[in-house]
């Protein structure tokens, strides 16, 4: 029987949310022992499908067959017991418990008490070649180690199918390579893996089969070898794009910003210059101090003793408020926690930095507030039902545009973008790049942090490598090779 070769069969599954068809007759077949990629822009329906499989949502129509059995209703714990694990982007671990306890959370008795738990946890971790101490606190682990714990947890349930949702988003390239090795091992053990990612390189590297989704539909399913990168992107966004990056700007002028002797516990002697019309990329591993540099510059963290000059004049920036006054803007790393007020309207989120300019005698002019929101929604092509829609309901790309729009309204001299394209789709990425170029063409400057090296190299006029809190190199990305830059970034 052909069906038994498939660990998972999804047939004509539909899911409706108020006003949206999140999934429209979605069908796919996942054979045993393959790595099955699912790609699609945000809002394509990937997460909804995964949530139906794991029992978080209920499907409205269609059938799901897992391991030969038709699944009607399920809950996350049922799904786990059947052998279907999901590893979410934000891990599902208890930070204040040990590794072993996390792996066998809620099953101490079955796993033979505390000793049995740790022994079995050790064995599971060994089986994927991980050396993490099972007595270590999960909160002290790195993102990659947490992922290993999640994988061990999935294995502890004897999972036949492991779904990984954006597994690489918080990994360095070295950690990602290790993950690749483990994925191959799991596949060799006959475990099927569904690999959801925005990063097409990874899909090509790890996956055997790939399904492309768009707007709740399955657009195509093919063996990876039969697809090119350009075809995949075209299917994801429903149109051809010629380039992933807009042409690089060349309008670098005089020195605009100068930072001298920035020292903290993590940062050592950070001094650099930023020119008018320049996009400056900061490259380094996660935790190397990239975000700390820009947070210190922006006044978000308490730092003293350094000197900041803008247009040659010393400016004192000790709070984001002062930074804003000095002409800086920040699009922070974590869109939902630091950037947006997700429960507020698109309008509030766009206008919040500009409100103090619309104020007379302490009273905010609500008419100009509306104008600003409309102007930025139009200028940035934010896809939203209205300015009064809740920003949390928009897709990642459109949310990011709201934050960028917040600063565009102030015409910042220097816009700092920390991981500006994390978790947003290809189409929206391109639009963010175009916005960056527009800022520098209008005489501003951009500092960009990104873990995606190709992005930094294609967008920046100059790149600084950061390693262990120091600036270790300066490159012209048009001349330097990737390996030269990575060499300095790893240290």
């Amino acid at each position: 029987m052909a069906a038994s070769d498939n660990i998972l069969v999804v047939k004509d599954v539909c899911k409706y949310f108020p006003g949206v068809k999140a999934l429209d007759h979605v069908s796919l077949e996942v054979p045993r022992g393959v790595v099955y990629g699912i790609v699609g822009e945000n809002g394509a329906g990937k997460s909804t499908l995964m949530k139906i499989l794991s029992g978080v949502y209920e499907k409205d129509a269609g059938a799901v067959v897992f391991d030969g059995k038709t699944i009607e209703k399920t809950s996350p714990i049922d799904a786990l017991r059947r052998g279907l694990s999901i590893i979410y982007q934000e891990f599902n671990l208890v930070n204040t418990m040990t590794v072993g306890e996390n792996i066998f959370l809620g099953r101490f008795k079955e796993s033979g008490g505390m000793r049995g738990t740790h022994q079995k946890a050790r064995a599971l971790l060994d089986s994927i070649g991980s050396k993490i101490d099972t007595y270590a606190m999960v909160g002290d682990l790195s993102a990659s180690e947490m992922q290993m714990v999640e994988i061990a947890k999935a294995l502890s349930f004897d999972s036949k199918l492991i779904i990984m949702d954006e597994p690489s988003s918080s990994l360095t390239s070295e950690e990602l390579r290790k993950l690749g090795v483990i994925i191959n091992q799991l596949r060799d053990r006959g475990i099927a893996i569904i690999y959801i990612s925005h990063k097409l390189d990874e899909i090509f590297e790890y996956c055997n089969i790939v399904t492309i989704m768009r707007d709740g539909h399955v657009i195509d399913t093919k063996p990876v070898e039969e697809l090119t990168r350009a075809e995949m992107i075209a299917k994801m966004i429903g149109r051809e794009i010629e380039n992933e990056y807009p042409p690089r700007t060349h309008c670098v002028g005089d020195v605009l910003l100068e930072v001298r002797n920035l020292n903290t516990r993590k940062l050592h002697d950070i001094s650099f210059k930023l020119h008018k019309g320049e996009i400056l990329g900061l490259v380094g591993l996660v935790g190397a101090g990239r975000t700390e540099i820009i947070r210190a510059l922006y006044g978000a963290d308490k730092v003293s003793g350094h000197e900041v000059r803008i247009n040659g004049e010393v400016v004192r920036i000790r709070s984001p408020k002062q930074a804003k006054r000095a002409g800086l803007g920040l699009v922070p790393e974590d869109r939902k926690r630091q950037g947006l007020i997700t429960s507020f309207t698109v309008q509030s989120n766009i206008t919040m930095a500009a409100l103090d300019r619309l104020t007379r005698f302490g009273v905010v002019n609500s008419a100009s507030e509306k104008d600003i929101a409309q102007r930025q929604i139009k200028a940035l092509a934010v896809k939203t039902p209205s300015a009064q829609a809740t920003v949390g309901n928009l897709s990642g790309g459109n949310q990011q545009k709201c934050i960028v729009g917040r600063w565009m309204e102030l015409n910042p001299k220097i816009l700092i973008l920390d991981e500006p394209t994390r978790g947003i789709d290809v189409g929206a990425k391109y639009e963010i790049y175009v916005l960056m170029n527009r800022i520098v063409e209008e005489g501003g400057a951009v500092i960009m942090i990104s873990s995606e090296l190709p992005e930094v190299l294609n967008m920046s006029n100059r790149v600084l490598t950061i390693c262990e809190g120091r600036i270790t190199g300066e490159f012209n990305p048009e001349q330097a090779s990737t390996s030269e830059i990575m060499d300095k970034a790893i240290g």
Partner: protein, 325 residues
């Protein structure tokens, strides 16, 4: 056809869920009036309006703290201490001076709370809860030390107490003077919250402190302001309480913190912060007060009334969380 009726059903459901408090209030009035006709009598309603104070003031101040994403248990201590201050200053300063002083002391104590919270970096709800609880004990204890736990009476003052009498029992037509004063303050605070930058920054802070901070708001200052507002309102609450009861004790504010939080939450302001407004809180005040009165009229025991209050709070939070999904 069927889709149309679903849409209609949905919009009906939305109207109901948006005006739930109002609907419950109307239902409560209708049902109680039928079961117990005395409920709708003029004397009962006047009585309710007179017994209402100081809750509306406390709830008004508490709204700002909760919209800002925090909570304030110190209102108990502030109301108590301000009552004591108000009564004991009538003789030395006269009634106007005593009232102004008491309100200012309230604002100052609130500001001190805010400053303590910001300087010790209390940013999570549990810390805020216990620090304000601790401050409340301190304020209450100060009052106890000052009064030797005795009851102060405004009637003992040698100077005129006409303002207190007017606030306590004076009316314009049938409307109590204190209600008129309150409505003026309420409207001013509503304008402050929705139209001014300072008011808006409270909602932004409640929605997401980090985002507000990075967008250039002084979150610590907003936090101090929020507690100062709560303190000011507690000061006014103290005046309205003294005016109604004509006495002050160093523990007379006890219980108003939970009542106020109850009103805010029942009114539909989320404990998660960011959402809500002061008008909604007033609906909560009306509902909770009516509920108390109805239960009295229907002869429910005080224990049973406490059970009902607890149940209302749980249901309100539950409904709020359902809305969030």
């Amino acid at each position: 056809m069927s889709e149309l009726s679903i849409k209609k059903n949905k919009s009906v459901a939305r109207v109901i869920s948006h005006n739930l408090v109002l609907i419950v209030i109307v239902l409560l009035i209708v049902v109680t009036a039928i079961v117990e006709p005395k409920f709708a009598s003029a004397s009962n309603l006047t009585n309710v309006l007179r017994q209402l104070w100081p809750l509306p003031f406390v709830a008004l101040g508490m709204s700002f703290v909760i919209i800002g994403g925090f909570i304030d248990l110190s209102v108990v201590g502030i109301i108590s201490l301000c009552s004591v201050v108000a009564v004991s200053l009538i003789d030395p300063l006269g009634q106007v001076g005593a009232i102004l002083c008491a309100i200012l002391v309230g604002g100052l104590l609130g500001y001190i709370n805010g400053t303590i919270l910001t300087t010790c970096g209390a940013m999570i709800q549990a810390e805020v809860l216990f620090i304000t609880y601790g401050m409340s004990s301190i304020y209450m204890a100060l009052g106890l030390i000052f009064t030797n736990a005795e009851t102060l009476r405004i009637a003992r003052a040698t100077k005129p107490i006409t303002i207190f009498t007017a606030l306590g029992s004076g009316t314009v037509g049938v409307i109590p003077i204190v209600l008129i004063v309150f409505i003026v303050i309420l409207l001013a605070m509503y304008f402050f919250h929705t139209k001014t930058l300072a008011g808006r920054s409270i909602s932004l802070m409640g929605g997401n402190k980090d985002a507000a901070f990075l967008a250039g708001y002084n979150v610590k200052r907003t936090m101090r302001m929020v507690y100062a507002i709560s303190g000011l309102m507690s000061g006014m609450a103290a005046i309205s309480l003294v005016a109604r009861t004509t006495t002050a004790t160093a523990t007379c504010g006890t219980g108003f913190e939970t009542e106020a939080i109850l009103c805010v939450v029942v009114g539909g302001t989320s404990l998660k912060g960011g959402k809500g407004n002061v008008i909604r809180t007033m609906l909560g005040v009306v509902l909770i007060t009516l509920l108390g009165n109805c239960m009295n009229m229907l002869g429910l025991s005080t224990y049973m009334q406490t059970v009902m209050r607890g149940a209302v709070l749980v249901v309100a939070i539950w409904l709020d969380n359902r809305k969030g999904q």
